[in-house]
Symmetry: C2
Subunit: 553 residues, 2 copies
């Protein structure tokens, strides 16, 4: 059997290696346009920042062996043609036409073809876009260019265009390298994979580290002689010795579409659960292939190295006759940004509404370990659930606390279709160095179930802020204890500590709307119950508490 | 409605608080024998070590309010009688007889009674057991006693009797305080909740930190005048200025059994999924109540604060007419021991065999982040699965890497009944600061599925060691590269690096059994495939690789 694989970065080599393990006799050829094979593209921001010292570490095995063509030949018995471009596919004759480094053209036969052509950074055509020191961050070459500019000490002012995952990771990397960083984002928020009230917490953290974040700002072009020195936007001009374009990537599909393979609604190559394209002898895996959202069953495009590896394995299994399938993704993502981690999985609140669910959400900020452990750090969770089935649809986390663990539990729970009640019963591993006795995710699941059951009504920060700004006649009731007031407070609020509330109900007007709040929304929930039981009929709890309040305190 | 709750530490106050939230009018009384309410017993080792500075932190809310009777009265409208002992239950008249601190006897009526009587440390009757400085670690008083002895500088040599969770946590705490610590365990291994090959790695780590671990050793008694100065065992005597007895706990059930409530096969109070005892108006929650193993459906006894909280909430819900159930536990546990975390969930290998499963296991040691990240740390996983259904039955982890995250994913997956293939497809959150592109758990699930599918045969460390000790005629084949050999090796092994193996097959005897190994069992797996495809018929892969080899290297 002759297997040809186009693309040698992530999904391609994974498929090749798995096929070899399953079939000792298959003739496997990997075609790679660039020099580098199996390199860890996700590690590039850490190479720029200096966390990763050597380029070679990104493309070597854990014991330091470079994954070059001779490694693939000797260890895996896989033929690799690098510096070789696949120019076209002849599906009828089952051949791929390739162009080698010396310009020579050749054709290779295949029985099964795997397309792992990846994605291409989207770079809009802009005046001055040709200037030097305007980089993207996609391949090793980009990272080397950025590093060279940094080491020449030529980049003091850096503008990052696009506030997505790579943008925020690069913001940290460049601050670490001593740059003044401005992030410019066209949309009203950075990190659109997060809900707005989560993204604003990330923005505030980045700003606290010196990054200037400009949202709702459109880049119009670049100024400079040889090198860029200014970014022109629809707001004002920004000084820049270096620009990083990180607007996003698009699936690389020209070869596939030229060959007449079906392209999906997300512009990526359409595939089935075996990763087969519309031609059953051609597979597509990794960043060039369309994904399916596991919650909604609809197409989506989420290019990630983790998914690429899984898809490569499934395609290899199918090629070798091993039953397997890849059903889809949850759009899970995580990034480290200075002292925070930010993560998300499943549907965002808006995605859930758009998908037709009757949505309820909750915000739960709390220490990620018992409060008496000095290692405890703040973790802010948001859960999104379907009111009807009480199933978890999505989860987001941000803060210095351990987001990754809670989100990966949520990933598993959403994949299994668990309800909030089932999640709240999970026998998670408990000891004080690792989590509170009631884990943050369990507490959040209980809060959200209480809310769905009608135990209390929530109100968002934005709604409270609008009421304050409008001068609405309502009581904003802070139920924290006196010792908590100093650190932060909302000036317009009335304070009655929870422990005094039962005896001071007469101070409150039963006919007025009352919004209770505290630090983390637990006391305010108890306060709302006390008020409701005392006959107050218009009581709401401010979701998330003061810890997540995104406005001036 | 009159609710009486016996026990004020974990499950009791949780039930009380939840009942109040659901029913503003219920008359709720909590009876607690000791002084302290809602204290974090699991934090005691960290109070002894000084990580937690003040006793008060263990019994206060996150904002520093002590949870004393007046807190419960003012904030929760719950009546707490501390220093009060429940002496008997009259089920016919629905009353509890109590004895207060001043010796006065009283009876309280209940409509619903919740027993949260906890557990009692098991202390065998031993000669000299009355001597001073022999402690258990169960309540705050024990911790204060240990701390006082430490601060008097009277405890240089400490013997910990019992190598369970509390024992190992205390070993670390006491080493931190400058003690010479010896751990004495009756059984052949410490931490019997771990499989032997995992426990031995923990033992080695503790020994590397100066703890002397004596297994298969029976304590016969203690010597000393006023204070203990010697522990007598069936091996030899051990100097000791202080002894910590941590053999385990037993459910406190006298009150329940005196009242004629059914006691389960584990000696704990029998309950249904609503936490009701054999008397439907009496509930039992927390460490006094029997649990159900979620995998096997059989009774078990796993006393943990995390479970206590969940059970307290379920009992409260049932009392207040809210549908809920607690189906059981996985025996999940985690502990920090010096630089290692050790964790387990589900069935151990032996438990799975005993439960009648056709069991396969794998060991997978690997960095918990991409190897190029300097923050990557070793994580050693063991998975236990059912060959027939390929469902995960249990998971264990040990090492400096992030055990907690992988085990909590496993908890969720086992609870949901996921297969290895489903686990390997989980869309876990990926970025280099948090995990490898193929997460450790995903890699381990793939390895175990390969093994069940017959891709290779495994062989355990113990089997290889026995072959070496017996002088069996077999080839132990090390397929690591030359650079890896220096750090550690097995002398009896032949080395052919994987990359050279295809060309050096003639050096190996086809008629001999060949056991391949490498550092983490990935190269050795590839080597086995190469050998099998070349016609070698008796090839095995040493599970876990050299990184987990528990014998002298």
């Amino acid at each position: 059997m002759k297997i040809v694989i186009i693309g040698g970065v992530a999904a391609g080599p994974k498929a090749a290696a798995r096929i070899r393990r399953l079939d000792a006799d298959a003739e496997i050829t990997v075609i790679e346009k660039g020099e580098f094979l199996s390199y860890a593209g996700c590690g590039l921001p850490y190479y720029v920042s200096g966390v990763v010292k050597e380029q070679a570490e990104l493309m070597s095995t854990p014991v330091g062996v470079i994954r070059d063509p001779s490694f693939f030949k000797n260890v895996k018995d896989i033929k690799v043609l690098n510096h070789t471009e696949a120019k076209s596919i002849d599906r009828k004759n089952k051949t791929v036409t390739i162009k080698q480094e010396d310009g020579s053209i050749d054709t290779i036969e295949y029985d099964k073809l795997v397309m792992a052509t990846g994605a291409t950074p989207f770079i809009p055509e802009l005046p001055g876009g040709h200037l030097k020191n305007i980089y993207k961050l996609y391949g090793v070459e980009d990272a080397e260019g950025i590093k060279a500019t940094l080491s020449d000490n030529k980049a003091k002012d850096v503008v990052i265009v696009g506030g997505g995952l790579i943008g925020v990771e690069m913001a940290e990397a460049l601050v670490v390298k001593g740059c003044r960083v401005t992030m410019v984002e066209l949309l009203p928020q950075i990190m659109t994979i997060l809900d707005p009230e989560m993204a604003v917490l990330l923005t505030q953290h980045m700003e606290s580290k010196g990054v200037k974040v400009m949202t709702n700002t459109k880049v119009l072009g670049f100024d400079g002689k040889e090198c860029v020195n200014k970014v022109k936007t629809d707001k004002h001009e920004i000084s820049a010795d270096m620009v990083i374009m990180s607007i996003g990537v698009r699936p690389t599909t020209k070869l596939a579409s030229d060959a007449g393979l079906e392209i999906g609604s997300t512009r990526a190559i359409q595939v089935n659960e075996q990763m087969q394209t519309s031609d059953k002898d051609i597979y597509a895996v990794g960043d060039c292939a369309q994904k399916t959202n596991l919650v909604t069953g609809t197409p989506c495009y989420v290019p990630l190295g983790s998914t690429a590896n899984k898809e490569g394995r499934v395609a290899a299994n199918d090629i070798c006759g091993v039953d397997d399938k890849f059903e889809g993704v949850l759009g899970s993502a995580i990034c480290k940004v200075f002292d925070f981690a930010a993560a998300r999985t499943g549907l965002s609140e808006q995605q859930a509404i758009d998908a037709g669910y009757d949505v309820e959400t909750c915000l739960s900020p709390a220490p990620d370990k018992p409060h008496f452990m000095p290692t405890a750090k703040l973790l802010m969770l948001k859960l999104i659930a379907d009111k009807k089935t009480k199933k978890l649809l999505g989860a987001q986390a941000i803060g210095p606390g351990d987001s990754a663990k809670r989100l990966d539990i949520a990933v598993t729970a959403i994949t299994a279709g668990m309800t909030l009640s089932q999640i709240a019963k999970l026998d998670l591993c408990y000891a004080p160095p690792f989590s509170p006795a009631m884990d943050n995710l369990i507490t959040a699941a209980n809060i959200l179930e209480n809310k769905i059951d009608g135990a209390y009504k929530g109100i968002t920060f934005a709604e409270v802020k609008a009421k304050l700004d409008n001068g609405d006649d309502f009581t904003l009731l802070d139920v924290r204890g006196p010792s908590e007031l100093e650190a932060m407070k909302i000036d317009a609020a009335v304070n009655i500590p929870l422990g005094k509330l039962r005896n001071r109900l007469n101070e409150l007007d039963k006919d007025k709307e009352i919004v209770t709040f505290c630090k983390i929304s637990l006391k305010s929930y108890e306060a709302a119950l006390i008020l409701q039981n005392a006959g107050f009929t218009n009581v709401k709890v401010m979701d998330g508490g003061l810890l997540m309040w995104p406005y001036k305190k």
